[in-house]
Symmetry: D3
Subunit: 258 residues, 6 copies
């Protein structure tokens, strides 16, 4: 089976650089895939993306060695398994708040006897290879998002679930959960403290920690702190930032301004 580069990087204690996809188009995805990210995450939750676009985007990523990941909209078996059957090499699951939630995530992402994933890797076996059935459990990565007050309360219970490879922090939701402003990078002190705490506990449990960042500087600082999966930038944000900068430059330079 094709290797999962995330696991290869982690074996060497290196940090994976992840890009984020919110635009439902194969072409924008292919541009992102050729930019050199270690992995790309198709965001079915907050992105404007659904199952049909996910397929096209997974194919676009598969034109490169970039690892394809999917953030599912919710902890539901149908969509988790659909993302895997379509060839995702990992799922990021939002709102994992309890030990039971984490156990379900592991269950949905593993075949029996460990889990209850239904068998039918219709595209995944084309992408992964003919030994997919026997190797998928050890190849695919499941990330549980820690982003609520309840999850903080249950942190050790979640982290101790057998088969949970990684957690992922959404700073915006975590901020709202702690009564702070929903931002990515410049988080308020209670959020900064909670992030530090989550990282510490994940490390203690041998679980890889990932986090959503907006800026390379912050992402590098996160990596230096011990995060082994850092998201930096999204297709939608690159367009917005690029377009706004271009228009601003033009408005500033035109005489008279149009």
């Amino acid at each position: 089976m094709r290797e999962n580069r995330l696991r290869s990087l982690w074996r060497e204690d290196r940090t994976a650089v992840n890009g984020w996809l919110a635009i439902p188009a194969g072409f924008s995805t292919e541009i992102m895939a050729h930019a050199g990210f270690d992995s790309l995450t198709i965001d079915l939750q907050h992105g404007l993306i659904e199952a049909a676009s996910m397929l096209a985007m997974l194919q676009a990523i598969s034109t490169t060695p970039t690892v394809p990941l999917v953030r599912v909209p919710w902890l539901e078996p149908g969509i988790v398994m659909k993302a895997l059957d379509a060839g995702a090499y990992g799922v990021i699951c939002p709102m994992v708040n309890t030990r039971e939630d984490a156990q379900k995530l592991v269950e949905y992402t593993h075949y029996p006897p460990r889990g209850s994933r239904s068998y039918g890797p219709v595209r995944a076996a084309i992408y992964g290879g003919p030994d997919y059935a026997s190797q998928a459990d050890a190849t695919i990565v499941a990330f549980a998002m820690i982003e609520t007050a309840e999850a903080l309360d249950n942190l050790d219970a979640i982290l101790s679930v057998d088969g949970l490879d990684a957690i992922y922090i959404g700073p915006s939701d975590l901020s709202l959960a702690l009564g702070c402003r929903p931002v990515f990078d410049e988080v308020d002190p209670p959020v900064a403290k909670a992030i530090e705490h989550i990282l510490d506990r994940a490390s203690a449990h041998g679980v890889q920690a990932g986090i959503h960042c907006g800026d390379p500087k912050v992402a590098l600082a996160r990596a230096a702190a011990g995060f082994r999966f850092v998201t930096v930038g999204s297709d939608a944000r690159f367009i917005a930032a690029g377009a706004q900068a271009a228009v601003a430059a033009m408005r500033a330079g035109l005489h008279p301004p149009a």
Copy 2:
């Protein structure tokens, strides 16, 4: 009928700032449309865009006051009229090389008696308004692209065609035509000279001149020189530039590099 802001700007001798669309998705288009460009051009020629995406993108642009334009793949009546019926307020037509080409462009974009545009503004009248039939000819803008050696030879013949509102320079094709490297901004001297010549002749004929640029600095210089329609940046380039910069920053900062 809803005004065409390009014409309004030109009446005040101001330069329109145009953005370029190569990604076939309504959402990326909506992000671009909210960035504040005066107009956006859906590129059916070199963009990965066809008629179905064009419709979705025209609707996305219509959520803002940005003027919707379409670059057609070729000087063919079917697609020129289809773009207009779908609500484009202007068409940019590649490879207008002769006076006859320019006359055809005017013909396809105007109703009888001036032209031969077929009547059926199925979406255009919803976008433009109930008086579309009588006002369309005076509202819509047709740009003839000047980008070949043949077009340079026929420049005055083209520019003197009655009803031709504007020309548009594609520096890449013009460069190839003159035996130079196909670039946008840092054009070789023969191309720079040709661009200057085209602008001069267009001004002499009272025809607006537009040009494709990659960078705001160049676009501002073009505007200062007299171009009244400057393209600066595209959705695809903003993603590529943003993604490459983010990955480069991460690779430079990670120890060891992943």
Copy 3:
């Protein structure tokens, strides 16, 4: 944040006129949006519509001031939040049968601390404005559908849920629940009585009441009775009615009939 016209109308005790969308196409949606409804509801439940079409349709509605609403297929957090992130200004949720159901609906449609909505208004903030995070809870409207015997039993418990803005009656389902024929307008007496009862209790709780109608006459009567949100007509029904009438007129008039 852009206002929600439903709330504005309700502040003046006026009734909103809602149209219904079952055809998965941006162009038919744009025609409906230009017809002057106060709001349009994209029906993800019984309509032939899914997430990708919803996005295109929300963009088509956004070309006008019409308020965009979504009926979700079921009370599930993934799709409720996805509709809101895509820019819906309200959700209509089927089969709210218990107080717990109503509480979940409120929870899914509000950010912490009131609810558990996950943060990521990727298109909603473009549509609503930069203050979306702080204003969304007070702007968006959640409708709980009252359409089963169980819901009638729990009516006051449902209506007393804090944060529930409105209820919506589906006369067809309510009819089936009461052992009657599934119709919109000419409901059987037990259904008529139940509708009256629901309206009374909603008014008593200060909750806005909406209802699905087939005909303007019935919709006007509902408005006069106190409903402040009345649906009248759908894209699919307008086509079916118009086409059947045209064909019938032709068959009646042709000699010999074809």
Copy 4:
């Protein structure tokens, strides 16, 4: 090969009732197809429809006995043949202005030796049957649109082209061509006279005449006058008319109006 009901009706000197499709959706098409039209025309010219939607719409029509037709965007061999390969049983071709144009239309719609249609009825043979190759020429119908001053001048030359089955009048374009307002039904006197003239000449040449109508009354009058193919109504118009009527009824009846 499955019969072409248009030809069957014409053999009995009866008039076919045609519906028009401008919305790119299989579901709206299926509603139209179940309304009982003799044929439906997918409008690739002024409709918001392209090749991908055409396929879905042809399949939707094929769920009923309704005859599938396509109006192509222009007299170009690629799209004419593509429509036929996809299963269209007739093409309506705009802007047939000369005898040469009419000859090309016949050529593109017939296999050698009569024409130059390329062989590959990939879907057409599934729809039509295994004897498609030998029967297609005698089954499919080609309509030449007569809608310009030039076409009026060349009318007899066009009508005398061997293999041209039918002509179709677009009253809007014909009106513009004659310096009149672009309308369907209430045409100005010069247009009325031209329509009468075209019908007369078509009858004289044994060519079936069709015409675009907006209202059943007009369509019935056209049929009575001798037109054997009358279009009455479109999906887009049925939605617009139904929605505008419903909203108007509501605005008139609501107190205070919302």
Copy 5:
């Protein structure tokens, strides 16, 4: 209401031949539908298919008398009802493991009073007929998939649920559940024994039994054993098998091999 041929066959104790669809395209579906299967199942679970493609595929199937079925991704009311509203004449539901699961399946697929299916057969009534509301419960077929150890434990409890028409065996998942290799046809002895057991118990309860097969020989043996619904082949497998055979024949025959 249009008959459900599955029920007609079963009344005569005959076996239905089912085909499987994993490719999200109307055209491949139409080819399959014209091949003469009694029914075709659109696989929303492991197939690369979602709701938008399901609609196009249901329309493609409706061009023939083939019975349209849908395998839903999971036992969730939203998608079960959506498949039925779109015109599916049966649903195959994975992972029915308990009596409660089976009861939910019956509930979601029947209108009140038997079930809780919400009323709105927007396309289903077009496909099925105007008496859909009263006849759907007796026409549509619900298959519960028996494919886990838990389901085997609860087999009689599941089979005795009133209104459960049929069960369907997925040999791959059943194999994994029993610690065997996930295959279709050449199942290991424990799986063979379990399949026999399920068939026996289904017969005892008067429930029809169906099973997924890869090869006609196996399917015929299953039919001979008493299965009354056998799947043989899928669009994706036909392509893979045909393409691999063609390439292999070419590689074997070319000198030198390319």
Copy 6:
């Protein structure tokens, strides 16, 4: 620039095995691409494929080393250049009947100074590499289809056009042109003779010859005769053949037949 394996094979006088694509879906394409063909041709002419599907299919092919080709609908510059910009490494152009046609094909597929291809390889440079501008002319392959009586008459004139890399024979169209039945493999004697003649003349001119086949046996014989590009099988035919065989086996084996 990424090599074109067709040219590599030809340099070694080996025959390329080509597969054919008529189904507009990325997933079926990916299955075909993984089957090991040297190249795959997306058929925009007779296939049910248009520009949007072409893009998704080119991406699906790009997940493997298979060479992506496109058959364009007609000899028109817009679509020829669009296919190349999207990343096709070759175009097959139907109905090249004259020396002038062949010259146009060469012109449309080469940049100045040899041709008139417009510059904008928006996806092609991502697929091919950063030196696309300078290497494309020498990498891309243009096939002229020889399939009419006129083309046979002009054969040497066509074959002597500088820059024409290859010709491709469509036996069906060639058969019709010669008054024979439109088949692929079991061609009538006049067609067999014409095929032999075309191959001879192509060899004499140093132009590679390709041909459409239905069966590996015939394709191998063609290769042995000197054809260096043989098409064998298509996605649509593999489905049809597989499905028909499976249904036939079931009908033959079931008692009583269903």
